[in-house]
């Protein structure tokens, strides 16, 4: 799977799950935590990443470094897929 495909799927998930389909609300410059993903939503994202991309997200990985922007989530997934394959 290409990085662009991963990014497209993650964006689509964020838009559907947290923004009620409002794609213009997902801006690359915005911090995801608190703005897009609310307190009840981070685990939904984790569950999605595990299920869709076959990776295992450890508790200690659920930190802003990995989850605060679309780019950082994509990099995290790419890195995990590389290390777990």
């Amino acid at each position: 799977m290409q990085t662009t495909d991963i990014e497209r799927e993650i964006r689509s998930f964020l838009i559907t799950t947290f923004l009620f389909g409002r794609d213009e609300q997902l801006r690359d410059s915005d911090s995801l935590l608190g703005n897009v993903i609310d307190s009840t939503g981070a685990l939904e994202l984790v569950a999605f990443l595990q299920e869709r991309f076959g990776i295992n997200v450890d508790d200690e990985d659920v930190i802003p470094d990995n989850f605060d922007s679309v780019k950082s989530v994509v990099s995290y997934v790419v890195k995990k897929r590389g290390s777990e394959s």
Binding site: T16, T17, F18, L19, F20, G21, R22, Q25, S31, L33, G34, D38, S39, T40, G41, A42, L43, E44, V46, D59, E60, V62, I63, P64, D65, F67
Partner: protein, 659 residues
């Protein structure tokens, strides 16, 4: 308890008795025992009565013997016997034993300031024939509702919005700013409502109209000035003071010519008020509660313990997902505003049980959490500030996880993530709304569901800025804890708990709730207490618990506080859910109403249908959309076809499903 309505014409025409009849007929659930209308020239008053005090002679609208003052009154003045004594000493003569007549004489004696002498829960309108003045008043805490509207031709008021909508010139439109507020604070900020041009008299306010000029005045508000005398007393003495006050607040709330029952939720507050009733009344007391098929929400074990301990004759009603879905249209018709939770629905079922058991009056524990420091949101704010003072602490954020053990999503979060969600930045700390920011932010996200047209109507409106302007001047000098209590007691309590979940659900079945914790003497005493006696470290309602020895079972005192909640969004997607759910959430219906974006609603529906919904956000979105759709179809001029369908389904519910 009753329903009230009135008209005052500005254009020289006469108040139409037929219209008053139509208005009051829409409130017959509030007062099924009798109706009355008084129309004389430009003024008309109407009343539907639930007879509780002076069953023979308390008919309304009532006038003074000389015909100068006329009143239509909903509620109770609990200290009417003491007031009557004073008025008798001042030479007043009474023709009835009712509290209604006491209001008339108190008004004659003290004028508009009479309300300062009342201890009770009221909404009333007095017409002074000689001064040609209309005087409206609503109780301090906002227990009883009072709405009004002004048109070019006159002024109208009523206990519920549906009576005002009987007036042909009143628009039937949703208010975009009111909606913006509800989808932020969960409640509209008084005087606004969910409807354009329909206002509510804020709690603790009076309104006068004379010479076509409307004047609104606040006569009471919560305040938190430290009291040196009280601060010097020890804990033990303060606990005794509080218990004495609660005892007296309960005693006067038992004044009634019909039997009084009690709600038992399984928590401390209602157990204590019921215990106080038991100390005063020696007859066997009837108690009532809701149980849930869904164990996550059920508190029946503690309700049974409280009932056995207090020796009450207990009845409960079991509430299933299906029950909630079946009654939801009726619930919204009574609530008259969108809700973000289904929690009012079980309260609707409970009041029906009370009525079917032959009771008209119940005492409940409502208000204790607001005035004596019980809510998790107070604890949450305290922890957030504590954490913010040392953001590098490893263990401080763990307190937030311990606060919400039932929020599974929270348990796996890192401290760094929690910082984002629980708003502990410098900017957040400086906000007057620090305590409520996480809650309001979560609700405000639902505004993403609004349609582009509706968003344009809302425009740049900023609900938080409006709220900030209404804060009292001394808000800034209160303790953080008191600030949070104020926001909760001033807005959420009257705007949701006492209305959507309180008065409206009880009065749907002609049941009157009475609240000892909302006796203004209790509120004023509590507001002077040192905050560390309300919440000692993280022990909520600390002083209240000290009052409970021997009155509340130890198991209930020790149990972890469980917020009252009911099953939410998923109820509406169980197999066999009535057709109104899918109909109102369909793109056609959503587009016809115009408030929400049909694609966004579709995304939520798909999530529930696929079994992938489950977060608090999804639940609030679904319930918020569905309740708004119900409101729009039942009350506004849009979507007539849907309204008809809903009506048919609701009447089938009434005629048998639950009998």
């Amino acid at each position: 308890m009753c329903g009230i309505a009135g008209l005052l014409k500005f254009d020289g025409s006469e108040a139409d008795p037929n219209l008053l009849g139509k208005m009051i007929a829409r409130l017959s659930h509030r007062g099924p025992d009798a109706h009355g209308i008084h129309a004389a020239g430009s003024i008309g008053l109407a009343h539907s009565r639930l007879s509780i005090i002076d069953l023979q002679c308390g008919a309304q609208p009532m006038s003074t013997g000389d015909g100068r003052l006329w009143i239509t009154f909903n509620g109770e003045i609990f200290n009417y016997l003491e007031l009557k004594e004073e008025l008798l000493n001042k030479g007043h003569h009474f023709a009835t034993h009712s509290d209604t007549e006491v209001i008339l004489h108190a008004y004659r004696e003290y004028g508009e300031d009479c309300v300062n002498q009342f201890n009770g829960q009221w909404a009333f309108g007095i017409w002074d024939t000689a001064a040609r003045k209309l005087f409206l008043s609503r109780d301090r805490a906002g227990v009883r509702p009072l709405f009004y509207t002004e048109t070019a031709r006159g002024f109208a008021f009523a206990s519920e919005i549906k009576a005002l909508l009987a007036c042909p010139e009143v628009p039937r439109e949703v208010d975009p700013y009111g909606m913006d507020q509800i989808f932020t604070f969960w409640v509209p900020l008084p005087p606004r409502t969910a409807f354009k041009n329909i206002r509510q008299l804020p709690p603790g306010h009076s309104l006068t109209i004379q010479n076509n000029c409307v004047r609104v005045k606040q006569y009471w508000s919560m305040s938190f000035e430290p009291d040196e005398c009280l601060q010097r007393r020890g804990e033990h003495e303060l606990a005794d003071n509080l218990l004495d006050l609660l005892h007296d607040a309960t005693r006067i709330r038992l004044r009634s010519d019909v039997p009084v029952g009690a709600y038992l939720s399984g928590g401390i507050d209602s157990t204590l008020t019921t215990a106080l009733v038991r100390r005063i009344v020696h007859d066997r007391l009837r108690s009532f509660s809701i149980t849930f098929d869904d164990r996550e929400f059920d508190e029946s074990r503690y309700q049974q313990e409280a009932s056995s301990f207090l020796g009450t004759q207990h009845s409960n009603i079991s509430c299933s997902h299906d029950d909630i879905v079946q009654v939801f249209p009726e619930v919204i018709r009574h609530a008259e505003q969108p809700v973000l939770r289904t929690a009012p629905a079980p309260m609707f079922l409970l009041s029906r049980l009370v009525r079917d058991s032959g009771f008209k009056v119940v005492l409940t524990g409502e208000g204790a959490d607001e005035v004596l420091g019980g809510y998790d949101i107070f604890k949450e704010a305290k922890i957030r500030r504590f954490w913010a003072s040392n953001l590098d602490s490893k263990w401080r954020p763990l307190l937030l996880k311990r606060l919400y053990p039932y929020l599974r999503e929270l348990q796996r979060q890192s401290a760094a993530n929690l910082k984002h969600f629980f708003r502990v930045s410098e900017e957040d700390l400086a906000s007057p709304f620090f305590s409520h920011l996480p809650r309001w932010e979560l609700a405000a996200r639902l505004k993403l569901l609004f349609s582009p047209d509706f968003r344009r109507e809302v425009g740049e409106y900023d609900a938080l800025a409006e709220l900030e302007q209404t804060l009292p001047p001394d808000f800034g000098v209160w303790t953080y804890f008191n600030q949070a209590e104020y926001l909760e007691a001033k807005y959420f309590l009257p705007g949701y708990l006492l209305s959507s979940q309180g008065d409206r659900m009880a009065m749907a079945h002609s049941v009157e709730g009475r609240y000892p914790f909302l006796d203004y003497r209790v509120i004023e005493f509590a507001s002077k207490l040192p905050v560390n006696l309300k919440m000692k470290v993280l022990n909520e309602k600390y002083l209240l618990k000290r009052c409970c020895g021997g009155l509340v079972p130890a198991s209930i005192l020790r149990r972890r506080k469980q917020p009252y909640r009911a099953p939410d969004g998923r109820c509406f997607f169980d197999a066999g859910a009535p057709a109104y759910v899918q109909d109102l959430l369909s793109p056609r219906s959503v587009e016809e109403t115009g408030i929400f974006d049909s694609k966004a609603v579709g995304a939520i529906v798909n999530k529930f249908t696929a079994g992938k919904a489950g977060s608090v956000r999804d639940d609030m979105a679904l319930v918020g959309v569905l309740s708004t759709q119900l409101l729009a179809t039942q009350f506004t001029t849009q979507n007539r076809e849907q309204a008809e369908l809903c009506k048919q389904q609701t009447s089938s519910v009434k005629s048998g499903v639950f009998s």
